[in-house]
Structure formats: structure tokens, C-alpha cells
Amino acid sequence: MPDNRWSLILHGGARTIADDLKDANRLGCLTAARIGAELLGNGGNALDAVELVVCALENDPTFNAGNGSVPTRLGGVEMDAAIMDGTTLEIGAVAAIAHVRNPVVVARLLLHEPTVLLVGEGARAFARARGVAFNDTSSTTFADLQHDTVGCVRWIATGRSRSRRRPGDFQASPQVGWAMPRSRVAVSMLTIMPGVSPSQATARASCACYWRAALWTSCGDTRLQLLPARHWRISNGSGARPALSRSIAKGGSALLTIAIILRSQWRQAGCPTFWPVFTRAISKGLDSMVEASGPLIIIGGHEDKDGDRLILSEVAARVGDGKLVVATVASHQPEGYFEAYQEAFAALGVHNLVELYVSEREETRSVATREILADAAGLFFTGGTSCASQVRSATRLSRT
């Protein structure tokens, strides 16, 4: 059953804001949040919402993005934007693009293209070919020079029970790179570096992390060089989430411009004041990101099955009289795995053991599988004989 609850998280840049700029920062965030919340409330999709919210932030000269972009040392404006669909892991990104009104719109257009990242002139030509709006005159208002850039995540709550903390499920996020296949980076880097030989380009593209690639290609940009690498990594490299959690760990003063809206709270409170909504939502949001409900027991392999069974005892103790499902999805040849565990767990007093062997993804969603998992007290993933088996088990079960 699809769960239509969602959260929208956006930030206007993690930084301590001067007193005279606080109102403008708050207003800008709230306005953008309202636009996104309205779209999502009417059933709009995550990518549209994220794009729209970031456009609103880019249009507001208060923020260091789009209209308010801080100039480079040479006086020009070069903007970066990235957008990712967490469900498909597709990304689109532009870096060091000039003159377009909303860089995120160009990034969005790249989402379904074979090229993931375009920079500079190439990005601008692509934008022009796609009819993206340009600014004819260069912007004269800049955000505060130290202002970090903006970000937005639309995030679906997957929980049903309100009493439990909910694991967050990122659906669209500026956090790119980690899961992105290297080959796609290489391809796009080759695409975007005219005048560089293919071997040079491949060598330079051999980092899996897209944003570091973006940093690299923009290294002629004095604006980036002025920032210490670590700051850069946190603020731009990883999107909103680590910036949020780290800033909070440091006391949270830098988070003044971050607005989080949980729809239920938003609706209930009408138009609530910023801080209570923000603090409640952020604590909920962070909780659900870092904590989950039940225990995870992660084993390095070859756990003792016929001696003291130390580790399996721990699993048994937590399952008690309940049903333990043993998933043999990761094995090439599941025969024998289940029997071995059946014997080991029986000796530990767990008798309600059910095997779940999944050969195709479709089976995972079948009625029988649902029934097996419905009343399970625990789930045990066995090992496999090859690394590829990890991928299989994850892809088959990740959406279930």
C-alpha cells in the first residue's frame, strides 16, 4: 500500500546568519517550502517539488544560488546544481554554468540523458538548445559572501505506527556520487572536457564521487579554491543530510535558514511559526535517519553453528518463541544452508523457522512471500558463494 506521507527538507545554506538578514532568510525558506508543500499536497511528484523549491531559492537573491550567487574572484558568476532521483539513482548535474536563471532546471533536464554532468560553456549550450530561460543582465545583488549554497530533499516517511521511529527513505536528494557507477562519471567527463585526451580524462574521472569530480573540473574557479576542502565536502559534496547532522552536533546555530515541514504538522497548525515546527521536525527527521526500531545483528561470516553458538544465541534470544525467517536469497545454491541453520537454531530453542528463497525479484512481492514475512519476529540473511550474491539479495529485497 503506498504511503503518501512525506517530508520536505530544504535549506538556504548552513551558516550563522547576521541579525539583519535573518528575516529575509526565514522568509525565503518558508516561501520555498510552501511552494513545494503545496505541490506535494496536490499529489505532485518528488522531482517536480525539489526542482520547484530549488528554483524558488535560486530566484531569491538572499541565497547563494541562482540570482544571489556569489561572484568569483574574476567577477563572473558560475553556478552548480545537481538533482538525483533516489528511486532510480539517476542524476543530472551542471557545474560552473553562467547566465541561466535556474541551474537546477538544466540539471533536471540532464536526469535522463546519458551524460550526467555538464560544465561551463557546454552546459550553457545544452541549456540554450533546450530552451532554458537565461538572465540577460548579470545579477547585481549577491548573497552574503560566506553564504553556503542551498539544498532540498523530498523524503517519504515509510512508517505506519506513530509510536515508532521511522526509518527515512530518501526519494530524491542532492546527495550524488556515492552510488553512482564510475563508468557514468567517466563517460560524462569525457563528454565535457574538450581539449583533454581521452586517457587524461579517464584518469581524472576515476573518482567515484561525482562532486569531487565537479570540484576538480572547477578548480580554475577561485571561489572553490578559497574554501578549505573539508568544508567544501560537507557543504557541497554530500548535500543536506550530513551538513544537517554535523551542524546540529556543533550546536545548531548554523542552521537558522533550514526549514523542515512535515505535512501533518503544517496542516494541523495552519501557518505555524518557524522555530517550533523546525525543531520538532528536525529531531524527528534525524532520529529516523540514524535510528531504526529493531536490532540489527551483522555477522562477519562463518559464525559458529555447532559449538557455543555465541552469535546465533544472540539472534535466538531476540526471536524467542517468534518466527524466524531464514532468507537464502544470497546463495547460488541454497541447498543445505537452511538445514544447517535449522539444526543450529533448534539446539538454541528456536523451532519456528521458515525458509525464504527468492530466485527472482517478482517472487519477493508475491503473496506467499508477504505471508511468510508478515508475522516474522526476525529475518536472517545467510551468506553466499560470491560477491555478486550480495547484489542479488539487495536488489531483490530493497524495495520490499
Binding site: L89, T158, S161, R164, P167, G177, W178, A179, A203, R204, S206, C207, A208, R212, A213, L215, W216, I234, S238, P242, V290, E291, A292, S293, G294, P295, L296, I297, I298, I299, G300, G301, H302, E303, D304, L310, I311, E314, V315, V319, A327, A330, T369, L373, G378, L379, F380, F381, T382, G383, G384, S386, C387, Q390, V391, A394, T395, L397, S398, T400
Partner: protein
């Protein structure tokens, strides 16, 4: 369905490949016979039950420290956790406890001052300075939020 079990307080356990699949990102290939080469690593999305970490198993037995360092070098904000055979971590409330006969290695790249992962060629060896390594044994605790271990004693 898996998340449902987890959410209502059920235990999710995994061993070997089943252990690696619990994190957001998992290592699916990478050499262990020699020092890590930049290009010698492949990652894929996992189940995402434990965020911001990458887990490797059969750790000491298969000499996987190199590939875990390589994974952390590629994304320094992710915590690398290497678990020996017949050893487990029990994750609850944002922290974990070590159980079993082997050790658990934690690679924290937060304070890395230099790495050649972005610039080097694929066949070059990894260079990384300032990486923090913890080795935990049975009973030791580790807080995933503060990234600090606590001794069993």
C-alpha cells in the same frame, strides 16, 4: 516487508554477504591480495538498514583492509566497518556492541587530510593520510553518531 519487520522491533540478522547487504552501499568487488589500487573497487546499493556505513565481512581472514580503506577514501563521510568471521556487531539505538571471537575494524575518514583517489590512475596504489582506525573486540561499544568507541572494561 523487511522494513516492516525492522520497524515493529523485529531482529534483522545477516552473515557474510547477507551482512554487507544491510548498509546503504556495499562492496561487491575489490582485491584483497595486495595494497588497494584506485580503480579496483565496485560498489552497489544495499538494503539501507544502517545508514552512513559500509560493511565488509570475512575481514581479517580475507585481508580486506585495503578494499575497505579504498571505499572510505572514495567517500570519507561513510564509516567503514570490517567484521571478522565468527564475530558480529549488534546495532541498537545508534550504537553497536561487538560479540564473538574476532575483531571489528572501524575506518573513519572524517579527518583525512589527503587522498589521491580523485587524481590517480586506476592502477595506482591508494594514498591517504590521517585516516582513523579503531579495533574493537568482544564487549566493546561504538557510538555511530559521535563515532567514538567505549571499552568493555
Amino acid at each position: 516487508m523487511i522494513r516492516d519487520i525492522h520497524r515493529r522491533g523485529g531482529v534483522i540478522a545477516g552473515t557474510s554477504a547477507g551482512a554487507s547487504a544491510m548498509s546503504e552501499t556495499m562492496l561487491v568487488r575489490g582485491s584483497s591480495a595486495e595494497s588497494h589500487r584506485i580503480g579496483n573497487l565496485n560498489m552497489a546499493p544495499g538494503l539501507g538498514l544502517i545508514p552512513h556505513v559500509i560493511i565488509d565481512q570475512h575481514f581479517a581472514e580475507r585481508g580486506r583492509i585495503g578494499r575497505l580503506l579504498g571505499a572510505v577514501a572514495q567517500n570519507p563521510r561513510v564509516l567503514g566497518i570490517g567484521i571478522d568471521e565468527d564475530t558480529a556487531i549488534i546495532v541498537e539505538e545508534g550504537a553497536f556492541r561487538v560479540l564473538g571471537v574476532g575483531a571489528v575494524y572501524i575506518v573513519d575518514g572524517e579527518d583525512v587530510t589527503h587522498s589521491n583517489v580523485a587524481e590517480a590512475r586506476r592502477e595506482e596504489a591508494l594514498s591517504m593520510f590521517g585516516v582513523r582506525l579503531h579495533v574493537l573486540a568482544a564487549g566493546d561499544l561504538f557510538d555511530l553518531q559521535t563515532r567514538r568507541p567505549t571499552s568493555a572494561a
